[in-house]
Structure formats: C-alpha cells, structure tokens
Symmetry: C2
Subunit: 278 residues, 2 copies
C-alpha cells in the first residue's frame, strides 16, 4: 500500500499507474466505502482512495473537530478491499497558500442539505474538482447515500468537463436497514432503534408509489405520518424529487427519488430511495 502525503507524490504515482479508479473519502471507512473500492477494483488496473477531511465543507466547527481520523485503520480497510494507494494529502496540497477559488453549482444544491448546511456544497464541489484534476482518474466512485451530493457532482462533472467518469454505487445498509454512515457510531442504542423508521418510511413509500403515481403529495404525507410514530425522531425534510434536477415532482417520474433527513438523539441522518425505475 502506497501512502501518498502530497501532490508531488501523487503525480509520480499517477504517471505510472495505468487505468485508475478513484474513491474520494473523508476517512472513517466503513462497508459503504468498501463497496465503492470493490466496484473500482473490478474495473481498473489500480484503485486509489483519497482521505481528506475537508475543512471547507463543514459548516459546524464542532462537527469538524469530532470527525474521526485514523489513517492506519483506514489504510488497512482500503488495502483489504483491493486499493493499492491512499492519497492523504497535507492541506497545502489541496489549498495552496493564497487559495482563492470556489466552485458552486446552482439549483441542485439549494434545498435539502444545502438549506441546513450553508456553504457545505460549495466546499464539496471545490474539493472534488481539485481531487479529480489532481488524480486524473479514469473513473470516480460515489455512493448513492449522499444523493444530493451525487447529483451535484454529476452536474458539475458534466459542466466543467472534469476528467474520467462518475460511477454511482448503491447505498450499503446494516441488516436492520440503517444506511451506513460514519455518524452512526454516535447513535445510542435507543436512538438507533428509532432511526430505523427512516428506512421503513422510504420502503413504505416505494411499496405505495404505483398506487399514488399521480399524487406524490399523498405519498409524502403517508411517509411523514409513519416517521411521526417515532417521537425520538425529528423530521427535517421528506420529499420526492427528479433524480437529476432534485426538483420536487408531483407524479412518479422515471427514477423518482424520495429524500429524507431527520435528527435522532442529536445525530442528523439522511437517506434516500428510488421509487420507480429510471
């Protein structure tokens, strides 16, 4: 396993690497990241995972401080999944002295996570642009778990002609249905139990989607009522949207996606589910 600590080391490695798959992460690797690495391993000569806890995408400094960091553990997990290199850059490799540039994506980023996390998506858009330009991968792998982020990255990748392809991989869940997230470790047992209602609500909406195909409002109401049966869960949003524009839809368009966010025991969770094939 090569651990590359700055841009110069990355460039030397890249020049000799052939077809490269990139899995951008902030570390704290779990089975969701493993599934991305495995998908990349199946398609490329070499897979590199980047690990960079990007300060500009945290709107809450406490959240940044709490973010788990364990490079040795992450490197072991990535190696076991088949990655051959980790790009764990120092801050100046990503943000050189005097850094002044920002990438923003309008529309897609405005609602949902964008509304509750000001500046978050600008930080993600900028760092992903930098990572893709630095690594020059043949493809980059992102999870559907962060669906709004994925839609933004697809839009930005197309708009700015960024290198390689963007590959989306399905959300990985625990056996009880909870979508994997590095934040899940902060859920106490009762909160965790309560949080399962998010996935149950999404599944119920998918089950009922055909019957409500001309009335997404009714479907959303049904899901919200289900979430409210768990008093420990505070719903932030629940909406059915177009998968490309993330605009709310009234009817069951192909690829229609239900997006949900809620706070449970002080932990903010997001999830999503496709309600109709694309």
């Amino acid at each position: 396993m090569d651990i590359l600590r700055n841009l110069a080391e990355l460039r030397t490695w890249r020049a000799a690497a052939g077809s490269v798959g990139l899995v951008p992460t902030m570390g704290a690797l779990h089975r969701g990241h493993v599934s991305l690495i495995e998908a990349a391993v199946a398609a490329h000569d070499r897979v590199i995972a980047s690990i960079f806890v990007n300060p500009t995408q945290f709107n809450d400094p406490a959240d940044l401080a709490k973010y788990p960091r364990d490079l040795d553990r992450d490197a072991d997990i990535a190696a076991a999944a088949g990655a051959v290199a980790i790009y764990a850059p120092d801050v100046p490799s990503i943000y050189p002295d005097g850094f002044a540039t920002k990438v923003t994506v309008a529309g897609i980023t405005e609602d949902f996570e964008g509304e509750s996390r000001p500046g978050h998506f600008d930080g993600v858009a900028t760092v992903v642009t930098i990572l893709l330009n630095q690594v020059q991968p043949d493809a980059s792998y992102f999870g559907e778990k962060d669906f709004q982020q994925l839609a933004m990255i697809r839009r930005m990748h197309r708009d700015l002609a960024l290198p390689g392809a963007i590959i989306a991989c399905p959300t990985v869940r625990d056996d009880d249905g909870l979508a994997l997230s590095s934040r899940n470790v902060r859920l106490l047992p009762e909160a965790r139990q309560a949080s399962l209602v998010l996935h149950r609500a999404l599944m119920a909406m998918r089950d009922q989607a055909e019957h409500s195909r001309d009335n997404m409002f009714r479907l959303v109401t049904m899901g919200a009522v289900l979430v409210k049966t768990e008093p420990a869960v505070t719903l932030d949003y629940l909406q059915v949207v177009d998968p490309d524009t993330l605009l709310p839809v009234d009817t069951l368009v192909p690829g229609a996606r239900a997006l949900i966010a809620a706070t449970v025991g002080g932990v903010r969770l997001i999830d999503n589910l496709e309600l109709a094939p694309k």
Copy 2:
C-alpha cells in the same frame, strides 16, 4: 487547418495530437493573438486556437452584440501563424443543457475590471476552466495585456490543479505604443491619438519608478496628472499593484505593475506595464 465545431470533434483530434499548446480567444484575431500562437508553435507539436465569444463574460449585452465574428478570417490568421486547428465550439459543447456551475476567484477579481464589469471574471474563470479541461493542453497561452485576467487565471489554475502550464506573453503594441485590442477598431482617429497618453503615462511612471521607489502614491499621482492633459480621456483607475495578488503597493516591490483603464471616445481601454523586474 482542422475546424472543430463541437466537443466530440475536439476529443477525437486531441487523442491523436501529441504535445498541444492552446491559445484561447474570442476571435477577432490581431497581432497580439498571433504572438501567442507563435510562442506556442515554438514549444508544441500542435497548436490549437479556441474561438468562443463567451456570452457569460459580457456584462453589457450591447457589447456582446457588437463583438466582431469572422471565423474564415480568424482561421486564415491562425493558420498563417502556425496553428493547425481551431476549436470553435457550439454553445452546448461549452454550456450543456441545464448548465449550473460557476467558478469564482476571490480577491484578485474584486477591484479594477471586476468593479466596473460585474460578473465578468466569473464568466472568464468558468469558461477557461471548461476549455482547459476539454482541451487538456500541455500549456495555455495568455497575453499580459489583460493582466488582471492573467493573474486570476494563474491563481485559479494553481488552486484547481487545472491541466498544463500557463504561459504569459508580452503585450503587443502598434508602432505608436497603443496596446493591441479588438476594440481599437472602434476608436476614431482623434480618440486614437488621445488614447496614446495611457502608454505614455505608464512609460513615464516606469522611468520615474526608481526615484519614487518608496512612494508609489506620488508615482500614481504623476501618471494621473499626465493622463489629464488629454481632455478626451476619462481615467477610470491607475494603480501600482503586486503582480500576484493585485493588491496596491506603497513601495516598488519586484514585479510591481501599473494598471490603467480609461474611456476614450466611448471606448473603454486598459493597459499595464511592469515597473520593476520580478
């Protein structure tokens, strides 16, 4: 001469092109562009000039409408200078349907041209990012004439790890000292004569720079007084700045640059000059 009209044609050409120098332009080629193409020809297997009148960098729709367009003439000039291809993309090749992404550079872009042309530099930063990512040149060539633009592009290129090198080429002038610009054709003879005071003021400032090395304010005042001897010229700004940050400087730092803008006979002109070696 290959004329490439969309991104697919560009990609086919690029894949077979070896070392490529890119000269991004908005057409209306003059000897300034020719000098960029010639510098690129000396360094690369193949030189491609892009011609795209970018609507997003015009803050004035009338200015966009007036902008001269003559692809046949431009292709002849580029070919004579040694370019082997023109990338003259259709609008969807640059701005695909649903385009939503913007690149902004803080600091450098805020004063001078940024102040009088709101949105202009966002448009330039975004389209240059797209062109560099699409063409993947080994180097791109820009004129020092648009010095603030050049400083912004250098900053953005470094920040976003954009492909290739950025090469700056000196301003090309007519025999009377007027910096070449596609706008010069709009100057009537008297206005053109009056406009020469811009270059005279810059030259006088350079001549006096050593004597005023601790007092750039005095140097600027002297230059402004000189400009005011021409009543047909309305000075917009005259400032001595750091060449990287474009922040005003009090003393003659290495590479210190005098920037000037003025309106003459309804035509806005800019120019600049290095006052001390870098």
